[in-house]
């Protein structure tokens, strides 16, 4: 996964709260065994409405999605992140994210930029006034800016998540640096804890 310093491009404003992952990628798409090819399914049901924001001119080139509170709630499907990326999004800006979605986003290199309620209102207003405006999400600085509107807002992103996004780190490789500690931990686990294969071998 390549590191991400900054994302600059146009944005799509999705003024809804509690956008769940069933909307982001409907269940029928979860039968795929690849990480790619999900773009046609992104917001599949909502895109049947010609007025939906992703059907507007320029949306296909957008790199940033701005949405309401509790974005990505519901199912743990990482396919939601893959679908957003496959469509072209590199960052999602919202006042809050569901925990699993946020983790999935960082794992897959989609920037979850958490801004204040006031900031998201200002971003929506600026994008309504200037739909094609260039938006800059700076991971290093943890800011989102719309230069044409004179907007610069800070966003929250945990230090470790920021580091992983900047460096494009393989999380498993980082963890395996602790191999010895994992092995030591395993040696002191209580004996009564269940083990699937051993129990079945006995029965």
């Amino acid at each position: 996964m390549p590191g991400i310093q900054q994302i600059a491009g146009t944005a799509v404003a999705l003024e809804r709260r509690d956008v769940d992952t069933d909307q982001i990628i409907p269940a029928a798409w979860l039968k795929r065994v690849q990480r790619t090819g999900f773009a046609p399914g992104l917001f599949g049901a909502w895109r049947e409405n010609p007025d939906f924001v992703l059907n507007r001119p320029g949306a296909a080139e957008a790199k940033i999605l701005v949405a309401g509170d509790n974005f990505g709630c519901g199912s743990s499907r990482e396919h939601a992140v893959w679908a957003l990326q496959d469509f072209g999004f590199r960052a999602v800006i919202a006042p809050s994210f569901a925990d699993i979605f946020r983790g999935n986003a960082v794992s897959s290199g989609l920037v979850p930029a958490e801004v204040g309620e006031g900031a998201v209102t200002r971003l929506f207003a600026a994008l309504a006034a200037r739909p094609g405006a260039r938006v800059v999400v700076d991971v290093a600085q943890r800011t989102v800016a719309i230069p044409a509107a004179g907007i610069v807002e800070p966003f929250a992103l945990a230090d470790y998540a920021r580091w992983r996004l900047l460096e494009g780190l393989d999380d498993i490789a980082v963890t395996l640096r602790h191999e010895e500690e994992i092995t030591a931990y395993e040696a002191r686990r209580p004996q009564w804890l269940p083990t699937v294969t051993n129990q079945l071998a006995l029965s």
Partner: protein, 465 residues
């Protein structure tokens, strides 16, 4: 003493707490299913890694398996390929698989507890948000994404920022006829769909203690519907009695050792939480959702709410959008809303106790003409046990379809769906737009209410029949 159950379980699983990184948490049990694992196994193989602890990993097939004609090849080619892929991955990596057709197959959150694999004080993860179910045993259990599935397969650990601790204390007792489903829908309504984000909820209080293990699983299962990372209930005699003698439960001297340990998994009376919420069980009535998040529910005696009655502009907008999608008008009694379908099943309400509650209502009655009703047991074992009690006959005689185990119409991946515009009374956990099929409308209810609704053709209680 001010210890909390959550901290005890968390601290016990700390493998490493490196400077500047979230701590590494050891995972005692990793449950795997066909939908969120193929890309993880592929990633593992591309990196030349292996499954670190196959013995702590258990796979089953549930999300897109057919629930009828199991003797036939799977008609859905994509589902068939995904299921075959899981079988192949389990064979290559030495992971135990309870495959379709096995008596141990079923919804992953039903079979873990059923086999005695979900025990107090454990950490349990699965690529499924309803993994919170296993918290009913005093385990720390939560859903993860596919990248994390790969991480656990490779390392048997997860890197986790410690969530906040929330207490939901339920005072009083549930009125007769009220169930864990009504309780958890009441809790979610109080918290809102994002009220638990960043938190692990511990459910406490007399009404929680009074719940059976099945009821506790229903409550913990839906923690994610309030946005919570996990839900937990401290283990007690109810838990121990339920676990004793199950296939993977400790035996003999180890059972005694485990019991000694589990009795210490408590939250002290004086413990402080980051947030504390109190719910009065006595104030609850049977719940029915009217909207498109599980937080949008009313009592069965209520009317569809006015969007203007919600406190915030965002809440009002969400209510208006939900009412439009659900094709409902404010002021209409929820009892007057008619349904096209009834679904009894899911990891929320697909256990034997749930089927018994529904069967008791349906016994000797008929499904309303025009209503399509199906029962999908949570596991093959639940199905067999229900049949041993004769429950299948009550359902079949009433006009229900009696299916084989799987997630089925809870998420509509396997072809068990409702048609666009159809309305379903469902014992599942999510009423999101299109959850049970594109354009479908879902109302979440308890099993007995679903059964009564199937008979009446509109939302009603067993006592009204």
């Amino acid at each position: 003493m001010t210890g909390r159950l959550f901290d005890t379980v968390w601290d016990r699983h700390l493998v490493a707490s490196p400077e500047g990184e979230p701590p590494l948490l050891y995972i005692d049990l990793h449950l795997v299913h066909e939908v969120t694992s193929p890309q993880a196994f592929e990633g593992l193989e591309l990196a030349g890694r292996r499954v670190r602890r196959p013995g702590l990993t258990l796979a089953t097939m549930d999300h897109d398996v057919p629930t009828r004609d199991l003797d036939q090849p799977i008609a859905d080619e994509l589902a068939a390929e995904q299921i075959a892929r899981l079988r192949r991955n389990c064979e290559v990596h030495g992971v135990r698989l309870h495959a379709l057709g096995s008596i141990d197959q079923g919804i992953v959150h039903v079979i873990g507890p059923q086999l005695g694999l979900s025990q107090p004080g454990m950490t349990i993860v699965c690529g499924d948000s309803h993994t919170s179910t296993h918290g009913a045993f005093g385990a720390l259990a939560f859903g993860i994404g596919t990248s994390e599935v790969e991480h656990v397969l490779a390392t048997q650990t997860l890197r986790q920022v410690k969530p906040a601790a929330m207490a939901v204390t339920v005072d009083g007792e549930l009125a007769p006829g009220l169930t864990a489903k009504d309780l958890v829908l009441g809790i979610i309504r109080t918290l809102g769909p994002g009220g638990g984000v960043g938190s692990v909820i511990e459910y406490r209080g007399p009404a929680v203690r009074a719940l059976s293990m099945a009821g506790r699983m229903t409550v913990c299962n839906m923690s994610i519907e309030a946005g919570a990372r996990a839900g937990m209930i401290a283990p007690d005699e109810t838990t121990f009695a339920w676990l004793e003698g199950r296939r993977h439960s400790p035996r003999g001297r180890q059972w005694e050792q485990a019991l000694d340990d589990w009795r210490g998994l408590v939250t002290d009376d004086g413990a402080a939480f980051d947030r504390e919420v109190r719910v009065d069980a006595a104030a609850l009535r049977p719940a029915v959702t009217w909207g498109t998040t599980p937080a949008q529910s009313v009592f069965i005696d209520d009317v569809i709410p006015e969007p203007g009655s919600f406190a915030t502009p965002a809440g009002q907008q969400a209510a208006r959008r939900a009412l439009t999608y659900m094709d409902l008008r404010p002021g209409v009694p929820i009892r007057d809303v008619t349904v096209d379908a009834v679904f009894i099943g899911s990891c929320t309400n697909g256990r034997l106790e749930d089927l018994r509650a529904a069967a008791e209502v349906i016994r000797g009655r008929k499904v309303h003409p025009g209503v399509r009703a199906l029962v999908v047991p949570g596991s093959a074992r639940v199905k067999a046990d229900a049949e041993a009690e004769g429950l299948d006959r009550f359902f079949l005689d009433a006009g229900f379809e009696w299916r084989s185990a799987g997630c089925s119409m809870c998420l509509g991946m396997n072809g068990d769906i409702i048609a666009p515009g159809e309305r379903c009374a469902s014992t599942s956990n999510r009423n999101f737009e299109g959850r049970q099929g594109p354009g479908g409308r879902t109302h979440l209810v308890a099993p007995a209410v679903a059964a009564a609704t199937a008979v009446a053709g509109h939302f009603t209680l067993p006592g009204d029949l």
